[in-house]
Each structure stands twice: as C-alpha cells, then as structure tokens.
Subunit: 271 residues, 2 copies
C-alpha cells in the first residue's frame, strides 16, 4: 500500500520528527471508496480545529490536495493522514520555523465481520479510564497510549469494541468509536469536553438525526444511564454503525432508531 511524506512517495520519516518524540501532531483515519475520501469535509473540519488548538501552522489547502491525489491512487481502503510539527531540536519548545510534515499511509479496508453490523456486538468493559484534559479533549491527536492500553485489555474476538469511561466513572466512548444511547426516542451521546475524540461519524449522525426530527442531546452520561438505555450503538467513519447488544450482564435489543440510522448511513457511505 502507498505511503507519502510531504506529497511524495516515501516510507520513512526523520527520527528527529516531533511526531515521534512527543506525539506532537494530529491524525485522521479516512475511508476511501472508488478513489475518493468519504466524509471529507468533516475530516478537514476536525483537522482545522486541531491545527488551531495545537497551533500547528499547517497548509490545509495543500493537505486537502494531497489527500485527494492519494485517495485517487489508493482506490479502495483507508488513508491515514498525519500532520506533525516536523523536525525539532531537543526540547519541548517548537522551533520558530517549524515546518509541518504531511504524512499519508494507505491500508486495506478493515475486514470486520458482517455480524457486527447485522446482529450487533458485545462491548468489553475496559478498566483503563480516560484522563481529563480539556485542552486536548475532542481532538484526534497523536497521544494515544490510553487507547493502546485499553485495547490491550482483551484479545477475545467475541468483543468487537471496548467501553471507555473517564476518571469519574462516566461513560465516554469506545476505544475507536463514539457511543450513542437511545432513550424514549431521543439520541444521547456523551459530552467530550474533558476527554474523548469527537468523531466525524458522530458529528454527521447528530446533524442528520436532528434534521429527521429526532431529538439529540450531548451531555455527561452516567454508567447507570447506559445500562437503562432502550438502544445503544457505536459509530465511526470506517464501519458506520454497530448496535451494542451486550456489556457484562446487560443486554439491549437492536432498536428501530439504530436500524434507521444504519440504513441511511450505509447508503451514504457506500455511494
């Protein structure tokens, strides 16, 4: 699969890059179908917010051009886009002339079992709790050790995803997904002001649901509220929507709202 650095085919990056040294950068994981990046505007919007909050002087027009050209070459699969603050001297202070590095890495489309989508999944209860850092919350930055630790907690393929909670015990998200609850016909998803990644599918889904007259709410969600939800599902931009059927002793059905959202977004993401 192809890999580019700064717009040219390349498999390697300087060992002095601040992306490696400090995780000083951002990434996006983008579904590519028929040579085109899916949910492009959402990915670019999140990236723009990240560059602003991390003060990364990224040439976003160029990033978009390169992503489009890379996707055209990739055809089908996943384009992982990383932006780093480039090379630096030793030390946390960024060089005044920091040159943001643009990295694109291709990989095949993930081969998730169709049953995840059709029948729903079991959620592993991760013991790894997310730390609360408002300055980084919502961003898809390169500091992802918490997700690495959480994902290392289980290897049984019976669990397709894991549930992550914050230090206060509130439910936040999956390891690589966002989480939604349906209660009394309304959609509820955890606020991501202290921790978590604000996924592009989450944003897309919130907007579309609101347009369909489904009430949506973003706020803190207690563990107990999750257990008492009518429907629970996960989403991300690669697999779309998976119903959640089981977490420890708790079981949920696959409900009508989950099916409605699945149907709409399967069509949207496949087209």
């Amino acid at each position: 699969m192809p890999a580019w650095v700064d717009g040219r085919p390349a498999e390697a990056l300087s060992v002095r890059d601040r992306g490696l040294a400090y995780g000083d950068g951002l990434f996006e994981t983008i579904a590519v179908r028929a040579g085109r990046p899916r949910l492009l505007a959402r990915h670019l919007a999140r990236l723009e917010e990240g560059t602003r909050r991390l003060r990364l002087p990224a040439p976003l027009d160029l990033v978009e051009q390169e992503l489009l050209a890379f996707a055209a070459q990739l055809g089908e699969g996943v384009a992982k886009l990383m932006l780093t603050r480039g090379e630096g001297l030793r030390g946390y202070a960024a060089p005044a002339d920091a040159q943001v590095r643009r990295i694109l890495v291709g990989s095949p489309a993930p081969a998730y079992p169709a049953a995840n989508f059709d029948e729903g999944i079991a959620l592993f209860p991760c013991a790894t709790r997310l730390a609360e850092q408002p300055l980084l919350a919502g961003l898809k930055h390169l500091n992802r050790l918490e997700q690495v630790l959480a994902r290392s907690e289980w290897s049984d393929p019976a669990f397709a995803e894991g549930l992550m909670r914050d230090q206060g015990g509130r439910v936040v998200e999956g390891v690589f997904s966002n989480l939604f609850l349906v209660r009394g016909g309304e959609l509820l998803t955890p606020a991501l002001s202290r921790c978590g990644v604000a996924g592009v599918m989450r944003a897309e889904l919130l907007e579309w649901a609101a347009g369909q007259g489904i009430a949506t709410m973003i706020r803190d969600v207690a563990y107990d509220e999750l257990l008492h939800a009518d429907e629970v599902f996960l989403c991300n931009s690669l697999y779309g929507i998976w119903p959640v059927r089981r977490l420890e002793a708790h079981a949920w059905p696959v409900g009508a709202i989950t099916r409605k959202l699945q149907a709409h977004f399967r069509e949207r993401l496949d087209s």
Copy 2:
C-alpha cells in the same frame, strides 16, 4: 550528530511505526560525558519499569549495549533513547509479533546560562494543567503534548522553566524538571502517582539526601505550601539543580540545602 535505529546508523524510521502513530513507546534523555552515559543505572531502571507497565517486550541488555556504544561514539552531549512498539497494522491492538524498535539520537549538550545554576531562575506559571492518569504517571513515555502546550505558553527567556500543576491545582513538576521544596530543613517533592515524570535526578537526589540525614518526604503538595517553602529548586539529569528564586509575586532565597545538593551533584555529574 549521530542517530541509530536498531543498532545501526540511520536517520529515518518507518512511517508505520507505532511510536509515531500513537506515541506507543518510552524515552530517556541521557547526559553523555567523556563517552559515557551519566546516571546509567537510574535511566535503565526507569526504562525497565516503563517497559513492564506498557508491556513493551524490549531486549534491555541489547538496549544497554547499544547505548554504551552510542555514547562512546558521541563523546560529549545528549543521547536521546527511544523505544517504540515497532511497526503495526492500522488499529490500536499491538501485533502479536511486535518488534520493539531502538532509536538513539545524539545532540549537543544544552547551553543553559551559568546564572541558572549560580543565581537561580524565575518560574513561569503555566496554565496548562496535567491530566491525572495513574496508569501512565511517573513514566517517561512518548505522549508529551501537555509539555508541548505548557512550553508554548512563554517565549521570554527570563523564564528558564515553567511550573505545572494538576487538574486539582496541586503543584507537580516543571515542564522538563522535577520540583523540590525545603521546609524546616526537610526535603519535600510532589508524589507522582496521578501524573508527572519520575526523573532520574529526583530519585538520585532523594536517595543521597536521605543518606546525609536530611529528612525527605514524597506526598501531594498544595500551591500554598510551595509559596511558603524556605527554599525551592528544580532538577533534571542534564543541568543538575537550579534554585528557584521567583514565581509571580513570590520570591525565595537560595538556601543552604540547595547549595549543598548543588555542590555534591555538580561534582558527581562532572566526574
């Protein structure tokens, strides 16, 4: 300056390395004098703890051999040692056959003003608060965006370091240093069970002070306790010990215990 990857001269690393993708790894910043790494046993001990807690299957004997050979080639300066979980497929799950990558990057010894050591420094009050994550606290891992953000808060060279507090407002450390208070002839340094990096100089200093009959304490430290300390100083393994003279409206003298520790460790680190 030289750079090695897996024991061989190399300037570049795969763009598929998990060190870049997730900050999935550890580092040590090691002073090298006359071709030898300083405080070697301490650096190796912290690295060993990190590999254990992150479950990084690192060949530590080989890491030590390569570090010694690298230091001999470098002569004088700083050896930055990074261990990453190596290349991976897309996704947080580590490959079963993960090969830990060993990276060494040389740089010149930092040129800090002599006045930092002789007269002491002013501390910048960073607004960036450290998140509380017990699973990572104490480790020198590659997720360092908080330090990047904190260090970006000031550019005035009148501030040689910045003070970092946790989300609860307790004082924790400097951006690239550990913090000590002297109160009534006793040494006090913040506990690092929720956040912070357990520095090798901090460990060295705690052990030596205790052996000298100076009482040492490791516990949570309130901001107010810092302001009322008799002496305050910072330490790390590159510069040794800097007295802290000023933080906002507060001023401290350079006290006798700080001077005693400086004298001892200057000799130890230079020899």
